[in-house]
Structures are given as structure tokens and as C-alpha cells.
Symmetry: C2
Subunit: 199 residues, 2 copies
């Protein structure tokens, strides 16, 4: 992506936005591989090909660094599908969630969330997203579904979203299976239509 | 064993089954706190109050030690409820799963599963449980539900179980919220009855 890791003498150190981007990338890579506890700023600096003092100049500690790297990633997950039906929108949202578990950034976030538990970083990220479900951009999806009369009365929209998210996490991290489109369709039909035979 | 004397008469070192139990407990405690990678046999020995050489005599390496500690725990999760209805059985299974996330052993397992990803230990445990869903003892539950005609044709029983498990993991580890009986009832009604309004 950039030439900053080249050892050729002419390679300039990245500055400005490019600097922030390569440092954030390196931070996410280390988070995904090792988690928060084992991440160090000198290590991130080495991976990014920048001076560690440049990092310390911008971010006072690794928590600030990680917070900014993760916040940058969260923005891209706030895309809201609008396919005209709840089923179509949920398929699109679920595909986005499933794809996110396969990215470096997604792995970093899930690793912190799942492995390091009650983490100040995650609480800070959650506080940025009110309602919390907005992390996945789904609040609008559920509002439109309610406006179209697609949702059964008394069913909590966040329960639907968190159930889908949990099922995807289970598929990826516990079953260690691929999240195919066919699997997502079955999952969404389960949540929308239910499993119980009608008699 | 040796002539070494402390001020108080030395507490006898545990032997036999007691030895296996205290070592397994200490192993699970360290796993829950620190994960597999950072666990060491000397550290487990210290926590258990046994000699590390006694541990090495029984288990050649930490993988063998952890495998036995986890296998001992898995046995207790294979209880199969039989309340007479799918909803009742799923409530009981889900309660067991949710409670397991709160135990030291459960946290240890989830920590390895979720944080350390594609782990030989988990593959070994999964291979012990065929079908894999038997980890939660639910195969019999689903078979009885099918025999009673409670399940819609074409719905995969493991999808139901894994969706419930994932939703519970999401609740505990991502939302960091309590899994109340009321929450479980809503979750199970969602999966059994679906979220979509009938028109």
C-alpha cells in the first residue's frame, strides 16, 4: 500500500494523513495478532516504519492510539442498507458484519471485545454510538421495517440485531466455519420466521 | 517425603484424585484469567500448592494438562433437560449455557475459543463431541422436539442451538449485560416464533 517499509534511502517518512493511516494500520495489525495488552508503541512504530517519538508526539499512550485507530474503523461500518425489505436489509447488514470478522480491523475489535472483556476502550467506543446498535448502522433499518409494518409487535429490534451478530460470531469464532450467503439466509429466515411448526 | 521441616507441620501435599482436582482447578483459574498462551506449569503448581515436578510426572506439557482440565469440565455440561416441550427444554439449555459463561471453567473455555481462535485444543475437544452440538447436550432435545412435531420442516436443529449460543455469548461478552430469565425467554421466543409480522 505504501513504500514506507522499504529500506531504500530515499523513502520519506509518511506525514500528516498518511502518517496517521500507516500508524493506524500497524496498530490494528498488532491488535488483531496480539490483543491490546501485548501491543507496544515501539513495536507499532517499527511495523509502520515511523519513529516512535512521532507516535508519542501525537498520542500520549497506547490507549489513545488504539482508541483513534478503532474509531477510524467504526466509521466505515455505519453504512445503512436500504433494499426495500427487512429481509434484504438484514441480509446486507449480516453480510457486512460477517465480512468485518474477516478483516484485520474487525479481528482486532472482536479480539478485544471477546478476550479482554470489560475494557475501557470498548466502553468508550460504545458511548460514541448511541444507540449502541448504531455501530452496525441498523437503527434506521429497523425503523423503516417498523414503518412498513414488517415487525411483529413486542419484538425488540436490538434483540434481533444482537442475535444475528452473536450467531455470526459463534459461526466464525466458535464453529470456525465460513459464513456463506446461504448460511446467512437460513439464519435470517430463522430469526424472521421462527423455528416452531404451526399447528 | 523429604526431611525439610517448616515451623508448622507441613500441610500434606494432595495425592491421587485430590491432586488431579486441585491442579485442574488451578489450571482453569489461570486459563480464565490469562488464556492459554500465558499459562505456565510452574505458575499452576504454585497456585495449586503442589510441586511442579509432580505435574510434569503426570502431564508431559501444558497442552496435555489443559486438555484434561477442560475435558473434565465438559462432562458436566452434557446434562440434557426433558421438560416435555421444546420451549421448556431450550430455556433450560440456554440457562445452563448462560450460567456456564459465569463459571471459571466456562470463562476459560470461552476465552480460548474466542481469543485464541483456531486452537488445537478446541479442535481436540470438538472431536470428542460428535455431533459437536453434544457439547451442550442438546441433540436429544432436538430429536424429541422433532418426534413431537414441534419443529418446522427444513430448519436445521444445530442452527437453532448455535444461534442461541451465539446470542448468549454476545449478551455476556459484547453487550456485557446480565442474562436474565426474562431475556432468555425473549430470545427463545424470537428463535421459535420469529420476528416478522404476519399479514
Amino acid at each position: 500500500m505504501t513504500a514506507t517499509r522499504s529500506k531504500k534511502p530515499a523513502a520519506p517518512k509518511p506525514r500528516g494523513e498518511a502518517f496517521v493511516r500507516v500508524v493506524a494500520e500497524a496498530t490494528l495489525e498488532r491488535l488483531a495478532d496480539q490483543g491490546f495488552e501485548r501491543l507496544t508503541i515501539p513495536d507499532v512504530a517499527q511495523l509502520a516504519g515511523v519513529n516512535k517519538t512521532s507516535i508519542y508526539r501525537r498520542w500520549p499512550d497506547k490507549e489513545a492510539l488504539v482508541r483513534e485507530a478503532l474509531a477510524g474503523v467504526m466509521k466505515h461500518t455505519e453504512v445503512v442498507p436500504d433494499t426495500g425489505s427487512l429481509r434484504g436489509d438484514l441480509l446486507a447488514l449480516a453480510r457486512t458484519m460477517a465480512d468485518a470478522t474477516q478483516t484485520r480491523a474487525g479481528k482486532a475489535i472482536f479480539r478485544i471485545a471477546l478476550a479482554e472483556g470489560d475494557h475501557a476502550l470498548l466502553r468508550a467506543l460504545a458511548a460514541r454510538s448511541q444507540p449502541r446498535a448504531a455501530v452496525f448502522g441498523p437503527a434506521a433499518v429497523m425503523q423503516r421495517a417498523m414503518a412498513r409494518g414488517e415487525l411483529k409487535a413486542g419484538v425488540e429490534p436490538t434483540l434481533i440485531l444482537f442475535t444475528l451478530a452473536g450467531a455470526i460470531l459463534h459461526r466464525v469464532f466458535v464453529e470456525q466455519s465460513e459464513v456463506t450467503d446461504d448460511h446467512l439466509a437460513q439464519l435470517i429466515d430463522l430469526v424472521l420466521l421462527g423455528a416452531q411448526a404451526r399447528r
